[in-house]
């Protein structure tokens, strides 16, 4: 594994569109070539080196390339977008679309991120030590094929519209989540270790949601069917088991109707 260190030298006036900051783009390139990759600030295209000092060369492949971002990346978007392998560490905050459409590899953000992170994710790991904004692990706008796989772990809170149209993969939120979780979901798992505000599992067809705290405004489309003991994220606990969304269509498998499951901790 070779490490490329990007240090933000000049903070942008607008926001940087950083979709080229990926192990896939950096692989096989020398530091100077990496510095000449395009980024956009608003409508203006310029080299990465205008904003960042670049130290170290990329590995031979994406899988052998690690990127470390230093400095305040609060105004840098799309880091790790569509990456397939390798590793990215953001030492502080980052902006929107971090790990969007990610297929593999790992991103670790030590601060907070803004909205649309892990959007359309197919695989890999996205670890956020701070808070995440809205549309975490959601489907892109208009798209009915949402998160397919991978893991998103946020230590802090998440905004609204987490996991819209989720089809697979796991999202773990250490803190609280705002309204709309797994809307239109057809698979996958969302775990909220704090409280959820409301509209949890609206129009959900299949998949699982766990809420450890309270749901301030639960939906009437979910029905309590019993209690279960389950191991979730490495710890065993008892949950009230609800099925829903009863207002939505549901597939039938082996003669039995398949519902989405909502588990609330007791």
């Amino acid at each position: 594994m070779k490490t490329v260190t990007l240090t933000l030298a000049k903070s942008p006036e607008l926001y940087i569109e950083g979709q080229n900051i990926t192990p896939d783009q950096f692989a096989g390139k020398k530091a100077a070539e990496i510095a000449s990759l395009d980024v956009w600030e608003g409508k203006l295209k310029g080299p990465l080196g205008n904003y960042f000092t670049v130290e170290g060369d990329g590995g031979a492949t994406a899988g052998e390339t690690k990127i470390v971002l230093r400095g305040d990346c609060t105004r840098v978007k799309r880091i790790g977008q569509q990456m397939t392998a390798g590793e990215i560490v953001v030492e502080g905050n980052a902006d929107m679309y971090i790990g969007g459409w990610m297929k593999g590899g790992k991103i670790h953000v030590k601060g907070n991120v803004d909205s649309f992170c892990g959007i359309g994710m197919e695989g890999g790991e996205l670890i956020i030590d701070g808070d995440a904004g809205h549309h975490l692990g959601s489907s892109p706008r208009g798209e009915w094929r949402g998160m397919q796989g991978g893991l998103i772990r946020v230590a802090g809170n998440a905004g609204n519209d987490t996991a819209t149209f989720i089809n697979g993969g796991t999202i773990i939120i250490g803190g609280d989540a705002d309204i709309h979780i797994s809307t239109h979901g057809e698979g996958g798992t969302v775990i909220v270790k704090g409280d959820a505000k409301g509209r949890v599992g609206g129009q959900m067809v299949k998949g699982n949601i766990y809420v450890y705290g309270t749901i301030e405004n639960p939906l009437p489309g979910f029905k309590l069917v019993g209690e279960v003991e389950q191991e979730v994220d490495g710890e065993t606990a008892r949950f009230a088991h609800h099925i829903g969304d009863l207002g939505e269509r549901h597939p039938v498998s082996k003669g039995k109707t398949v519902y989405a499951n909502l588990y609330t901790r007791i």
Partner: protein, 568 residues
């Protein structure tokens, strides 16, 4: 003097019966001329290449409100698919491309005329605003009549002359081109939560049958002598077993002959007939009835059809057939847009994925190709994808490849998950026919131009006509062994000359000659009754005033009015 000569190409012009002769084509001031009339022309070397008239699309949904709904509610149709600024303007979208991408992509394929398939009259200003923004290609747009309250009332009472006067008024009010009919009566019934599934199902309240709507509109059309015929999207479209309803619709044309001064011979054009050629009594027993349909079409020369070929893409369906879109939504559970257009029509939009892994989709693919391959008269059977309903228009080169190459069909069929069942349910595997370049020219320019009644201007290379020429890098004496090269040649034409200006070279747009709006201006005798009916309906029922409803001249971009005198 702007003079060009296209030298030494292999020329295919079905309007003149020219079948690949090596000829020179002269162009002067935007029109074709005899080469002897040229002084010192600029030379375009077409040696070893195929030369045809600019392409003519008889049926495509490219402008207007439902197209824009498709654009608005499918942002994912643009995601990661809009990276390039190739022409003068940004190009966006896949199945519902932006206006600019639409114009450029048609031009890259060598097309110059596209007939917008359905214009809701109330929203005609929007249609014309988007025509203005669609570069290079000339456009016409067909207002929909088959569920219009005026039309239903006049035809119920057998008032053909009144219906003709109203039709002429609406063509002028909307700067429309022809009489489009979508699911006659069924779309009005949809306002009541119902449908007309056969041509004998009466329309609620109006109590007229689809059969009577269609024959009444054929009589209206021939009474006026319009350039194009009635252009029909059949009842019960898209459903297993509908081919009998389609045959019923086709038989409505029996006994009618075309009356017009535009060289048109058909009285009924059935559009995207692929969606109407199904047997079986459920999706499980779904099968092709293309042969039965084409047997009828082949034997009746007062009918033309376009195929509506499924291209096996992810696309966006959009039609004024409101109940059909509702049933489609029930099949695929995807998002659905639905609207009513007061007194006139309705529309729905649903995304659709035609997958090679789904048996019904691969049978539909076979049905479309069978229709074209069973056609005895390529001057009456046209290539279309009902863009974007069965696939995007920029797949025409792929459709041409399938029609010209058995090998290309076999290669695609090998990707089918249900190949055996597709073969069992269709005749496609037993068809060896490969269409010639001449037949392709018939199906993509000469035939559609004749059926639209515009073959004095478009679709051929005759002196006096608009100088629209498409040159393709295909040598008819040395056709490529790899069918992919056919698709490539028709996707990126070597040259498109539009009105005597080189617009595309080597598949890239190099100039944007002025585009036109083509519409039909019909003179009819004064009709006080119809004027009063229009006044009354706008007073009592429409939400807009009649003076705001009619298009202003400044709405209509670079108009070319086709004059029709129906006062005699």
């Amino acid at each position: 003097m702007n003079e060009l000569i296209v030298k030494n190409g292999f020329v295919f012009d079905p309007l003149q019966g020219i079948k690949g002769d090596r000829m020179d084509i002269g162009i002067k001031d935007g029109k074709f001329v005899e080469t002897s009339a040229l002084g010192n022309p600029k030379v375009i070397d077409a040696a070893g290449k195929t030369v045809m008239a600019g392409g003519v699309d008889i049926h495509s949904h490219v402008v207007g409100p439902k197209v824009n709904v498709g654009r608005l509610f499918r942002p994912e149709d643009k995601l990661f698919k809009s990276p390039l600024k190739r022409g003068n303007r940004m190009e966006m979208g896949f199945s519902v491309p932006s206006t600019f991408k639409t114009g450029y992509d048609y031009a890259r394929m060598g097309y110059v005329f596209v007939n917008e398939a359905a214009m809701p009259p109330l929203h005609s200003p929007h249609v014309h605003e988007e025509i203005r923004d669609t570069p290079i290609i000339d456009n016409a747009a067909m207002p929909v009549f088959g569920n219009n309250w005026f039309t239903l009332e006049y035809l119920k009472n057998n008032e053909i002359e009144n219906n003709a006067a109203y039709t002429a008024w609406l063509l002028r009010a909307t700067r429309g081109f022809a009489i489009k009919v979508v699911n006659p009566g069924g779309t009005e019934a949809w306002g009541w939560g119902l449908n007309c599934e056969s041509i004998h199902d009466p329309v609620p309240y109006f109590d007229i049958t689809p059969a009577k709507i269609v024959t009444g509109l054929i009589e209206t059309n021939e009474h006026l002598g319009l350039p194009h015929s009635v252009h029909l999207h059949c009842n019960n479209l898209g459903n297993p077993g509908n081919y009998t309803d389609t045959l019923d619709s086709l038989k409505l044309a029996e006994g009618y002959t075309a009356k017009n001064n535009f060289g048109r011979e058909q009285v009924l054009h059935i559009t995207h007939i692929q969606f109407d050629s199904y047997g079986g009594d459920s999706w499980r027993t779904f099968e092709s009835k293309a042969e039965e349909i084409m047997d009828y079409v082949n034997a009746h020369d007062n009918i033309t059809v376009d195929i509506g070929q499924v291209t096996l893409d992810e696309t966006t369906t959009m039609t004024a057939d409101g109940p059909f879109e509702h049933s489609l939504r029930g099949l695929n559970n995807l998002k659905w847009a639905n609207t009513d257009v007061e007194l006139e029509t309705a529309a729905g939009v649903v995304p659709y994925v035609y997958s090679p892994n789904i048996r019904v989709c691969t049978i539909q693919w076979a049905v479309g190709l069978e229709l074209a391959l069973f056609a005895k008269d390529p001057m009456r059977t046209f290539i279309s994808t009902d863009h974007p309903n069965a696939g995007p228009f920029f797949r025409y080169p792929r459709v041409i490849k399938w029609l010209m190459s058995r090998e290309a069909r076999d290669t695609t069929m090998k990707t089918f998950k249900w190949l055996e069942r597709t073969i069992d349910a269709t005749s496609i595997d037993g068809i060896d026919r490969e269409l010639t370049l001449y037949e392709i020219a018939q199906m993509t320019r000469a035939g559609p131009a004749k059926a639209l009644g515009i073959s004095n201007t478009y679709g051929g290379l005759v002196p006096g006509m608009d100088a629209n020429v498409a040159i393709y890098a295909l040598n008819p004496e040395d056709m490529p062994s790899d069918p992919e090269m056919i698709e490539k040649a028709f996707s990126q034409c070597a040259y498109l000359i539009k009105d005597g200006v080189v617009a595309v070279q080597n598949g890239e747009v190099v100039a944007e000659p002025a585009k036109r709006t083509v519409w039909v201006d019909v003179k009819v005798p004064d009709n006080a009754q119809v004027q009063r009916d229009i006044y009354e309906h706008f007073l009592r029922h429409y939400s807009v005033g009649v003076e705001n409803y009619k298009l202003f001249d400044e709405h209509v971009h670079n108009p070319r009015a086709i004059e029709v005198d129906a006062t005699q």
